[in-house]
């Protein structure tokens, strides 16, 4: 259950941004969770809603955008969103692919007051 550790990092990050912007309260927080980031979105949400209490995020809405695995083929240059975890160009079959998105978790947007 590293989702708890991830949420702790997220809350710390959020607090820093809020401070820099002289905000008193965070009302909405949007994150992007890659399908290959290694966190379970459902667990992340539970962890967030458990830990946000008594922080600057207390009462904040938590929005998760799930990011599919996206690759760019280095041979035919096609960019594809993969449904199956198979690092291979669906168009030409090359395995020489570059990951564009879907392997990381980002704090994207904060709404504050």
């Amino acid at each position: 259950m590293h989702e708890y550790s991830v949420v702790q990092a997220l809350l710390e990050q959020t607090e820093n941004v809020a401070k820099e912007n002289d905000a008193q309260k965070v009302t909405k927080i949007i994150v992007k969770i890659g399908v290959m980031s290694g966190v379970e979105p459902h667990l992340l949400e539970i962890a967030f809603n458990t830990f946000k209490e008594k922080t600057i995020c207390d009462g904040a809405e938590f929005v998760m955008n799930i990011q599919p695995l996206t690759i760019e083929c280095q041979v035919c240059k096609t960019v594809s969103e993969l449904e199956k975890i198979h690092y291979c160009c669906p168009k030409c079959g090359s395995i020489d692919v570059k990951v564009v998105d879907g392997e990381d978790m980002f704090l994207m947007t904060l709404e504050m007051e």
């Binding site: 991830v6 997220l10 990050q13 820093n16 002289d22």
Partner: protein, 271 residues
């Protein structure tokens, strides 16, 4: 970051993508000569001191959630690099054979190594390694199911860095959580043992995606299990096309030797 440890890494490496939004407050707590090349400092300043932005309620942040961990990991790597130590993160389920492999390698290697051990509660693994005359440091993670870069930073300062060539990090036994945390190693080795069954690679793609080398261990038990090694290799290469894979059976010294040779090769290829 490490005001207590007196480390003097001057060639500080930044992993944060400076083209991204600047909201991270990193680096400022470095008490010692890190040369930060903060071209983004100015942009940062305008962002937080722009009165117009203070009124706006929505801020695009776009920073990796584990940004702080990643920075510490880069810092750890800089430590290892400075001492010319190759750092290898060993990950697997509990019982796949990480500690046993290290014990056996101790009698066979031509390089010198140390081990940073991660475990929930005990220091049994570190004791096993020390019994082989190998320097080991135990990190007890308590409830944390993985090692992070900050824990490993503590461990690396307990290592005799000038006396070793390779530093293994034996991560907490777990195929999920450790995959998300860069601990500052140069290479990841992921073990999976025959008795765990033939679906582990497909079930835990995030972990196997991290692997530079996959070890299929306990191959002496193959006759007792329905385990199709070639199928597993194919599955692994759907996730990581270029991954190296070796079969290991601790009773077969030649198979352990191949792992050592792989490490030797990687040491040479880093110059």
């Amino acid at each position: 970051m490490c005001q207590d440890c007196g480390c003097s890494i001057t060639d500080h490496i930044h992993t944060d993508d400076h083209s991204e939004g600047h909201t991270h407050s990193h680096g400022d707590d470095h008490a010692h000569g890190h040369e930060h090349s903060h071209e983004h400092q100015a942009a940062h300043e305008t962002l937080s001191h722009n009165p117009q932005l203070k009124d706006s309620k929505t801020i695009a942040v776009i920073t990796k959630i584990l940004d702080k961990n990643n920075q510490e990991a880069a810092h750890n790597r800089a430590h290892f690099d400075k001492h010319n130590v190759l750092s290898i993160n060993l990950m697997s389920s509990p019982g796949s054979g990480k500690t046993t492999l290290l014990e056996h390698m101790a009698d066979m290697v031509s390089f010198k190594f140390g081990v940073i051990e991660g475990d929930l509660e005990t220091s049994r693994d570190a004791d096993r390694i020390k019994a082989k005359g190998i320097p080991a440091y135990q990190i007890q993670t308590g409830s944390a199911c993985h090692l992070d870069a900050f824990m490993v930073h503590k461990g690396l300062h307990a290592m005799p860095m000038d006396e070793i060539d390779v530093c293994f990090v034996e991560n907490v036994g777990n195929l999920v959580c450790p995959a998300s945390y860069d601990v500052g190693s140069h290479l990841n080795i992921v073990l999976v043992s025959i008795p765990e069954g033939g679906d582990k690679i497909e079930k835990y793609p995030v972990m196997f995606r991290q692997a530079d080398l996959i070890l299929i261990t306990k191959t002496d038990l193959l006759e007792h299990f329905d385990y199709d090694i070639e199928h597993e290799k194919a599955e692994a290469r759907k996730i990581k096309p270029g991954v190296d894979i070796l079969e290991v059976n601790i009773k077969d010294a030649a198979s352990v030797q191949r792992v050592i040779e792989w490490i030797e090769f990687k040491r040479k290829m880093r110059g």
